[in-house]
Symmetry: D2
Subunit: 416 residues, 4 copies
């Protein structure tokens, strides 16, 4: 699992969970169907993991926390694999270095699929038991997270290949959209409630629900587009130090950054469907926090706080909610949003909410695994599994990272 | 200058400024009196600068922004020195790499002192002119900051020498204090005002003054001591991953951190007076944000936010204010607080306040020079010049940095 | 090709070449038969290449230098692949960074086999043409070299996997040998002839044949064994700086070297057949030049020069020749020498012979591709293809490299 | 000491030694007279040492190996200084990291001079004792080596300063020479004797004297000049991979090498007298082995072996000897050869001679301190102390190093 954990207040429905479990496990496998054993083995950078590793790690989670603990008589499918597929659970023992995951040509992709089948079969009785519902809901959310990471990691891996291999076939583009003038959701400021509460699964970092004080502000009603980013570049955006945070400017210079990740020559960008023309009306993606901040400064705006974003998202459900919906399904074919919407940077550092408590136990080991220096992203991307999104959901990355589907929604102060 | 700038609302008194200017320039030179040309030349790491460089850079500031702009007929003392002693003002042209400052054996310390005298003499007419009062107040604050950096940088440089040279003579220790039981300043939460306002100098990053919402909390009435830190170490604090932020734990392991910076064997630590016995009742210093956070977790507490700190500091002036006062004067001898109080970590990321605007112009270039990933420290240290402290003052460093006099004041939630 | 080139004086027999070509191409494919697509894709360090890359690169050689130049009407199988599979021939255009070869999940292993089949078929008419005999002999030697590299590179890759996967099945060990007392081939010194001359293929770096002056010396009649290396370790060999070259000692300390590469706990080592017990009577392998030199110093001996080795090898053909013969065939199963003999370090820096001239043209680009700082190894290893060995053969690596089958034969001065 | 040791066969004259000792110690101090404490403290790279360190290290040598061992009642001037000023004598205990020498602002330059005076006085009785003559001769040779290093290291340090400070005043240039056509010393090949033998000091690595076999060759009668190097650059010498050794080409690209070290714009170069115009007729200096080899290839020639150089040097004493003589005196002013002749690269790897034995004991610790990957240079430079040169002298550096006065004398094969 990436880093979040479930909220103990959630009470999922057991029969629904069994159905959801089955659908999710199938989705995971459908998504990797185009990958060869070799595709699924390579690792392009330490931040990313091989697709095979994601398939195995999610399975390790079910085996470790459900089957080993709660399925009488279950024996580990292979007792040397936990060393390979544990991510960072200290309580679960040693594990290989993160950067060495790409050298695991064995076990093969086929062996991992066999393991998945064994685990799925063994899980059946537990899925019906309400005593495990919380843990199963957590495992589902965990695997949903890894689906998104799998998709972004394999995109990064294929991008390294000079042949520019496509994971899925190209298809006829949707008719070109036009970019609407940017509208603004205005908010008068004041005390607001944020954070998750009530029924339904949420990660622990989404709570406790608490009051925050907002200044009067406005949040854009759409994302910044590729075309707008082209204008930023044309205006010398990457060459003007005053637009950038000091560490952002250092990053631009040391890494020779001149455009979003995956942008190529002549208006192209690399996608799961290989090299394609960029749509100037589509949201820009694969930018870092540094780039998002510089663009906002250039545009005379700023990044929203995570609470400004959440308050608008919760209130403007019809508008924003639809966007989330459209963005969600990362299906292997036909999804109109696959190159669509994205996680949106906020200016908020990733910190625990007031009153947050670290739960005990192995699964809960990472509820308090906060880091310094990461920023919160809100929303969801075209690679997020449908149903995994919430207005209170908090994603977080380091400011230089941009291999996720990351984009930008502007905010500004209102005169008080 | 380090990074902050003046608040336009301040209205310093011109005749007071002339007096303050003179006293400060003398203080700077008195502090470096024990240093040889070689002492003042060396640079122990890119984060630190040579003492000579600080002496020159502050002088460059006066020459560049006051004399060159406002003193008719003034010609640069040496027109090749700005390349050496500009820190990062892009508008002021190119400059040598930060890490190469320690190779500047020329100009000599004596030549820098001559330059200082020339500039001080040329400044006299300007000091009396109210039109320059704001800029002069800024220059004074700038030089005050560099005095603190000079003191912490030279300490770090001398520490590298296996001979452990002392900058000042050792002296008889004050009678050993006892550590009082930790008391707590309680606060019921609610809306509070923070940030600078009104007369008196402040940096731009201390405003605009604005409302914040506080949760009920308590702030410790004293700092964590060396003795308490010994207990943390004895309890295996540096060996328990669950106490640490994830990136803090990675830092502890890769850097083999086992104690605060400057701690030696057998209860000693390195000081400006050479190697000395640590006082278990004195505040712990030279810890990183990672260490501060881990200690707080170990102690069942947490770090305060910067606003919790400020609200208590403003309200408890008699208590906290005295501490600041005691800590302030970094005199070359006799100061009882020299190894005393310290900057205190908060959990707040360093971000601009709502409504903050970046000023125009060369001096104002860095008002908006915010970085990501830095945390706010509040208070002042034994190396802070008397008069440079304010309840609204915001210092900031990266979470791994600890060569400043950095310490820890605990906070905790109150049950709502 | 690794780095060597053919000697223009060689005159191979065309019909023999066709037979040799066919056998070699089959051997290459038989050796990789146990590898999956993923096994053949991964790259464990920049020094090593993926097995798939070796299969493709050798095929690229035939296509580029034979088919493209001399087969009328031949069109490249895929015109984007040369970018991937050129090694370093500047005249043949750009190529991907060496360290990025392990990210090429595409083309697949199957596609490479198809390419091999197409190229093999197209080669048939050229094999019969004596005009191409020299170039074909060179291509054969080239592919022979890559077979050895493929075997050592895949061993290194599988070694990274904590599961310790075996490429071939374990088999019953041969009966344990005993270690004979070390005998010495004595030589009185004087003028000797070294280097290749006459019929038969050789690389350019083996000539011109020339005179050298030898001091009286003796060369051991067998290799240093694992058991003898155990004694070196037991005697603190890795902890005594006086035994080591200065840069060797720095390497031991920075890399924490304590034993040959692939040595495990409890007398084991990693092999193509997985983790096995070491035979104390077998030659030690996978040592660096630094280790070889330190052992020789410890043993009161020294490394031979390359000419001492060659003169003895040429003279003692019955004895040494048999060893070479036994070492040669790297068959996928059943080879008694697979864990047997090894390349032997000399103290000679790798330099061109007197009168050496760099040939013109693309294939000849690398005849003069000498490097500084490499040392010559003589002999052949258990992974060397039968027929690729010669007394005049010069192999060469950097002093820290040890993933080849590298071992040690001692020499000593005779009193004059 | 750098790395060499004395030859036990040498029998210096005691009264001459006392005189030589005194003159040398004075010369060392005269050379550093222009340096400030800060100049003498800084270290520009780990390969180089501060001037103050050289002054102290040579003094440490006398104190450690002569006074401590042989002067009854002598006590160490400061018992903590050996930790600072030991270079790498393992038998003499721990020492600070080489790269940290530039942080030693204490002891001051003045304190080092005081130490030198104390040691010089204490040495007086020992200088007259023939029993110590060998060791004293070694100490003199050791200090001679460090004078050369001191001069090249301080040049490198001052070069880092953008002000380009001069160590000595500029002076009127000698009248421009013309470059003579290159003549050749021809040699018919055959057996020759090389290495030191007989009376007079020599380092151990210069023996044993032994026979070598030479091929017919010719050695240039003058060095390659700056003007000839300009032609190499104009012809694209730094942009043609075929001219370079493979590792040389990698070095050129990674380090962006385009000219010798210290070359500036518009025909200038940096010298001990600051930035000066280059003399096109003067020998090129400050080139690496890679550059020397590439130039030789470009010129249709090659580097000589160290034995070719030695045989010609010994035979053509009148011609070559004069050159050495002219090059020798590194006087603080007035030396016509200060920017003159230089060490000359050979293609020979630095290896012990046949029959070389490592002596026992602390002083002899480093006779066997050979490294791999270094090349031999012959001759002497303008910074070599008069009297330190010999035809058998072997200097050695890594192929990328070029902060010494290194240049190039061409060689070529004669047709047999």
């Amino acid at each position: 699992m990436h880093r979040n954990q479930f909220s103990p207040g959630s009470t999922p429905d057991a029969s629904g969970l069994a159905c959801e479990f089955s659908a999710l496990r199938s989705l995971t496998e459908a998504l990797v169907a185009p990958l060869s054993d070799a595709d699924a083995t390579i690792q392009s950078m330490p931040d990313a993991s091989p697709a095979k590793w994601h398939l195995a790690h999610t399975t390790w989670f079910w085996e470790t926390f459900l089957l080993r603990e709660h399925a009488p008589g279950y024996t580990l499918h292979n007792d040397r694999w936990p060393f390979l597929f544990n991510s960072y659970y200290e309580a679960e023992g040693a594990r290989i270095a993160r950067g060495a995951r790409g050298l695991l040509s064995r076990p093969s992709l086929e062996e991992i699929f066999e393991w998945r089948a064994v685990v799925d079969a063994a899980m059946a009785p537990l899925l019906a038991d309400p005593a495990h519902a919380d843990l199963i809901a957590l495992g589902i959310a965990h695997e949903q997270q890894h689906i998104e990471l799998l998709l972004t990691d394999i995109k990064h891996a294929l991008f390294q290949n000079p042949l520019g291999p496509a994971m899925w076939d190209a298809r006829s583009s949707p008719p070109a959209l036009t970019t609407a003038a940017m509208g603004w959701h205005q908010h008068p400021g004041g005390i607001a409630m944020v954070g998750h509460e009530g029924a339904g699964f949420a990660f622990d970092n989404e709570g406790p629900r608490h009051r925050v004080l907002l200044q009067p502000f406005a949040l854009a009603d759409r994302l910044v587009t590729n075309g707008e980013w082209d204008a930023f570049i044309s205006d010398g955006g990457y060459a003007k130090p005053r637009l950038w945070l000091a560490d952002g400017w250092a990053w631009v210079q040391s890494e020779h950054i001149r455009a979003p990740l995956y942008w190529g020559e002549d208006g192209t960008h690399f996608t799961h469907r290989g090299w394609q023309q960029r749509d100037p009306h589509a949201p820009v993606t694969h930018i870092s926090y540094y780039e998002a901040d510089a663009f906002a400064t250039w545009a005379g705006a700023r990044l929203p706080t995570e609470f400004e974003w959440e308050v608008i998202a919760a209130a403007h459900d019809p508008a924003l909610g639809n966007q989330l919906d459209r963005a969600s399904p990362p299906l292997p074919s036909g999804s109109p949003g696959l190159f669509g919407d994205c996680w949106q940077f906020t200016r908020s550092a990733y910190l625990p909410y007031p009153g947050f408590r670290v739960p005990d136990g192995a699964v809960g080991e990472y509820n308090g695994k906060f880091m310094s220096g990461q920023v919160v992203l809100r929303g969801a991307s075209c690679a997020t599994v449908r149903g995994h999104s919430r207005a209170s959901y908090r994603n977080f990355f380091y400011p230089h990272q941009r291999w996720q589907f990351t984009g930008l929604r502007l905010a500004k102060d209102l005169i008080q």
